[in-house]
């Protein structure tokens, strides 16, 4: 399975979803699809840093929330256009990423320590957003209903879904570019062995900074789009650990450090979650139980996620040597 084939498959799948959506889907399925795309985009952001760079963040909510709050505050408090709000949200999210990256990478944090410190940063932001007035405190903020393209809202949710698909497609192409570029090669190199990378002239600090900034930008874009869909946020939604977890789960289950992994993971997880919820009669939390079990199973049996597992099966059928398991 070549990279281009993987990309084409992913694009074909998204095209299929788009056609289905346009032809007509029940409202709740369309909502599920919308949510899948938001999580996929978040996970695509996570994948840049956690998948290709091997720096697992437990706190991508910090970027998601910053994007979400920025565009919300700009729209409601300052009456600024939603698209401009989106651009500002992405910029500020990227800035927060750069800041957290600067501090963490200067201190040489990686592995568990990087995971913990990102979690701590997200928590600090959550507590602050929960108590400050200009973020609406504990009661959160609403974006008023406008329903026009210029306000990035649509009475017909199919169009919103299409916009999300466009962004996810851009994410796919960006990931494909990364895999091919010198930047991506350096990022993967420092994941595999940072000493050796340095010896070959890789400025690992700079590469990590670029990776976290890019990663944060994409995830904060997802945060902005989340608000445009749900028109409401509070601290627990925007900066809550749920989104950090979904991003990480989706990327790892789908296949961290692969082009289509985040998309596969979010579709699979959210789809499965929905199925278990309906079969169990809506027991709260049951979908997350399934997610957790799948994550553990993936770490145990499919270190390269579903994407890697399928590729290995394919290779085995073609009688080619399997790729050795990668430590994510």
């Amino acid at each position: 399975m070549t990279k281009n084939f993987e990309l084409i498959l992913a694009l074909a799948f998204l095209a299929l979803l788009a056609v289905l959506a346009l032809v007509g889907l029940p409202g709740n399925i369309l909502n599920l699809f919308i949510f899948m795309m938001i999580v996929a985009l978040t996970a695509q952001g996570w994948n840049m840093l956690g998948g290709y760079g091997g720096l697992s963040s437990f706190g991508h909510a910090a970027f998601f929330g910053t994007g979400a709050y920025t565009t919300t505050i700009l729209q409601t408090t300052f009456g600024i256009n939603a698209w401009i709000g989106l651009v500002c949200g992405v910029a500020l999210g990227a800035l927060v990423g750069a800041l957290i990256g600067f501090l963490s990478f200067r201190a040489g944090l990686k592995g568990s320590y990087f995971a913990l410190i990102t979690l701590a940063f997200a928590e600090v932001l959550r507590i602050l957003a929960n108590s400050w007035d200009f973020t609406g405190g504990a009661s959160g903020m609403m974006v008023s209903l406008k329903n026009s393209f210029w306000d990035l809202q649509f009475a017909d949710r199919r169009y919103f879904f299409l916009i999300l698909v466009v962004f996810v497609v851009l994410g796919l192409f960006l990931t494909r570019w990364l895999e091919r570029s010198a930047f991506g090669a350096y990022l993967i190199a420092l994941r595999e062995n940072d000493q050796a990378a340095q010896a070959l002239g890789v400025d690992i600090f700079r590469i990590k900074m670029q990776a976290i900034t890019l990663s944060a930008a994409i995830t904060s874009l997802a945060g902005c789009l989340y608000v445009q869909n749900f028109l409401f946020i509070d601290a627990n939604v925007a900066y809550g650990s749920w989104i950090s977890i979904e991003a990480l789960f989706a990327a790892i289950v789908g296949g961290a450090g692969t082009i289509a992994g985040p998309l596969i993971g979010s579709v699979l997880l959210l789809g499965l979650g929905e199925i278990t919820k309906s079969f169990s009669g809506g027991i709260p939390g049951i979908d997350l139980v399934v997610f957790g079990i799948i994550l553990v199973l993936c770490v145990a049996f499919a270190p390269n996620g579903v994407r890697g597992y399928v590729a290995d099966l394919y290779r085995r059928r073609m009688n080619r040597p399997p790729s050795s398991p990668k430590i994510v």
Binding site: G54, G111, V124, V289, P325
Partner: protein, 290 residues
Amino acid sequence: MYSPIIIFEALANGLMLGAVYALIALGLTLIYGVLHIVNFAHGALLTVAMYAIWLAFEKFGLDPYLAILIVTPLMFALGYALQRFIIGPSSHGSDNGILLVTLGLSIVIQNLLLAGFSSDTLTIATDYAFGVVPIGPLLLSLPRVIGLGVSLLTALLLWFVLNRTDIGKAIRAVAKERLGASLVGINVAHVYAMTFALGTACLAIAAGLLMPTFYVSPTTGAAFVLVAFTIVVLGGMGSILGALIGGLLIGVVEAVFSLFLGDSLGQIGIFLIFILVLLVKPTGLFGARG
């Protein structure tokens, strides 16, 4: 202005709360010191223990302090099984693998509890919950005084186990020199699981000490995770004494911050300390391996 009595009471309260924090951190640091893993499921396991204490009270009318005697061996067994049969085999020994597996476990546990108990907060009503111990001009909460005492006692007991028993010696041998220990015939997988079990058992005691004055909901333990990590990092990863001192310190910090900033912002102090310690302490001591 705050009167000195209020400040002193806050300090004393902080110390007493800190002792229970220390107990939670003790388990975490023990596991880190021996297995070199960051056990992300620690908080969720604390929640499990708290529910167990609550159940013992609700179903069997068992006093929380007495219930410790029953819940501790149960948690010990649970910890052993988790490490031996799930975390150990599925993580392939990789750092990131362990982190992800314990994260996955914590999500599973937390949401199983949510499915089983709903998100309601549960409490235990005892007649001593509001008891006070007068010490000089200070009025100290009885359960918290007990918490301080039992926590210190547990730390002492743990020290004894590690230094005076055979399993303790095996644990220390494995912590120091894993390969060497396996060469002289120590079953490393068993020792790892025993360590994990001991660390988990500490949580049962902490749960028993917390329940008379605290509440439990599926996310309660998660709130303690970062606090416990802060203590462990502050005290030096793997250091028992460090965890003890770090716990007391964090308890005091939280009490003081809460007094001046209110409860919700008070927590920020802990996170800021955590971030600062991680950033400022030279990475060689705990960060990159070797």
